[in-house]
Symmetry: C2
Subunit: 459 residues, 2 copies
Amino acid sequence: MDLTLRSLESMFEDQRESFFERYFQLLRFPSVSTEPHYAADVERCSHWVAEFLQSAGFTVERWTGAGHPIVFASWAGAGPAAKTALFYGHYDVQPVDPLELWQSPPFEPEIRAGEVYARGAQDNKGQLFYTMSALCSILKHRGALPMNVKMIIEGEEESSSAALKKMLPEKRDQVRADYLAVVDVGMKSLARPWVGVGVRGIAAFELVLHGSDHDLHSGMVGGIAYNPNRALVELLAKAVDENGRVTIPGFYDGIEELPPADRAQLCMGTTADESLKLLGVAPFGGESGLSIEERVWLRPTFEINGLNGGYTGDGFKTVIPARASAKISCRLVPGQDPIRIQELVCKFLEAHCPKSMTIEVRKLGSGSALRTHPNAPIVKAAVAAFSDVAGTSCGVALEGGSIPISLDLSEASGGEIVFFGYGLGDDQIHAPNEHFGVDRMRRGFLTVGRFLAHLAGSA
Amino acid sequence: MDLTLRSLESMFEDQRESFFERYFQLLRFPSVSTEPHYAADVERCSHWVAEFLQSAGFTVERWTGAGHPIVFASWAGAGPAAKTALFYGHYDVQPVDPLELWQSPPFEPEIRAGEVYARGAQDNKGQLFYTMSALCSILKHRGALPMNVKMIIEGEEESSSAALKKMLPEKRDQVRADYLAVVDVGMKSLARPWVGVGVRGIAAFELVLHGSDHDLHSGMVGGIAYNPNRALVELLAKAVDENGRVTIPGFYDGIEELPPADRAQLCMGTTADESLKLLGVAPFGGESGLSIEERVWLRPTFEINGLNGGYTGDGFKTVIPARASAKISCRLVPGQDPIRIQELVCKFLEAHCPKSMTIEVRKLGSGSALRTHPNAPIVKAAVAAFSDVAGTSCGVALEGGSIPISLDLSEASGGEIVFFGYGLGDDQIHAPNEHFGVDRMRRGFLTVGRFLAHLAGSA
């Protein structure tokens, strides 16, 4: 089967216009999975994805009933002796607030200076679309794929993948695969591409401190009422010390050290200047005395994602609020069991809850960290594909983010896992003005094709 | 002039129906001074107040141009030799959020179990209305007042009285008075009334910490980005120590100790049980080792009125926000200069701002604390009036809240000041479901009449 770079390039150019039309259609669905009032849009989006794959020749199922629908597609035309590759992506997106900071509406994609601006432009609709499109195009134009292919495309990645987690155990036979590619990550720069061999895990929480049963007047009782805002500040300040180290007992226990040989293969050495330039952030957070990659890839965190209490509107209001709350998440690394970390965090917060406050800690979601060996066949195929498209060498890296579902997918499919994608540090995913490059969509298409060729041994 | 309790009682009963009708009219104006979109309602409310006083025989002016209108009313019929009493109140109210916690709409007054529920039912429209109504009724039914009377009714008390503060210096001749009654406070219980001889001052702030110029992904940069939420928590935790003592250098300098004789006159001795019952709050806040009254009346505070940063909606969002903010206010006591305290607080916050954050501290408003001697004639007249109406003895007290304008009023008018009113600890002022008693409206009417009689020496 002709899957040379050149033939994939003509395949892409021949359909460039409809490719971007379809991509924009996908971006227009406000498929925000965490906000219940978008449920109908999430549903419509899942139908669109299913139809796209079905019309190209995939056998498609929509798994419903456990949450937002999961689209499962498969093509087994290579026969039972051939190996199977499973691709994972998601069609749901993050919330869009603060809306006023968007330069163009988040669900009306717009191209400015070669970048597509929209919520999900990168995470994950962009990367999902070039993957689906490459697989469908090869199937349509070559009449077959070089190996068996499956796809799982879920609608709850941004809210802990609850439905898929619940369904995977009973779908083990269907999702079984030799290789598993999670196309939902990025690299430091296009000039020096990398593929990912691991992600951090996560454990998320909501913390609420209740004081009085109603808001109080800060004059009438200021001096005797314990202010929940103060209690929250005192409690959260205790969780991390002045060196950026998490103080929760047992938090760092059992963390797997990376063997020196593996460590040497990783693309490390980001400087503080690069951090500032690529991420818009000076590296002053986290544990002191460690390199940037160590802190983002190899060490866990305790992060306050949201703070809320009392009056936050215009002017001021002399209130001692009835309650104050925080959203918290910990990034985890191999060796940390998310369930155990959840227990440790809850226990710590409850133990340090200031006197007279009622504390409520809700566990929101969790997932383990995951690492594949850099010399595994799937890693080699991905590295080769990225090298082909970039015309340069490709390294391996870890990923600081979490894809909570990746461990479940890896266990259910039994496949070797790799993480790749064309995300870059300043794509503003999870933030206003998310964007993704027009040319990266093209590269993604080519890379998926070449990856499949290398994996099937038909490169 | 017949201003006996009995004659005032018939005067009230004869007009009971129209009294509550008018009171409800006043409550229906959503005159929230801190939120710009209510400006037209604030304006309409000021006209209603002005017309109410004018139709009873007062000479009325509306002072405009410096902010929300101020209503100034005067009656000088007692002649230049007679003394003048100046009453102060305000027609603006606090914001109403969280709206969903109100059992009936905040601007549609409703009587339940003898209490009127509405924003401003007590603070200050209720207390303002019984005051205005008593003065107007005496003037209409007796044809005169027993002494000269002035009223200043402003529309910005809940947002620092900026307009009145600005105008008072140029209105000194008009507002000159021998006595000044601020009818905007309360007492511990109706069974043991008190009048106030002092208020705490205030200094308010908005604090914003800026990290990156956009929201960041807590996976991609968690471990290197300094999270503004964490920076805010660390910074604010430093301002108060584990004994509830404010750590800001110089904060307690110069505080005037109350002489033991004056201290003995104060209605002290609230127990922890009473605090819990009357205020819905166990006395675990503030400085340890001090009595409840000391903490609320004689000591300053550092209170976090609002906290806001990152994602606070449903579910969670793995964000490291670009900024986090807090609203802060300090209650002050005699001897603390608000301007100096503002400088000290700003200096402290700026000095402890975590590395890599940009800090912005805005001064929002301030006012000094104030105390009158418990044996001053105006205090005696007020104590006598409350005794008459309650049929029991009346004490003196301080007030933990602040009426930032009271010092300006006291200086501009040159009058002896007293603070009184029928507020109770569980009226939920500044909170959802604010309410005020039907019978307290009656008592207020009678008390204002008797106060005037005692003050004029015609009791």
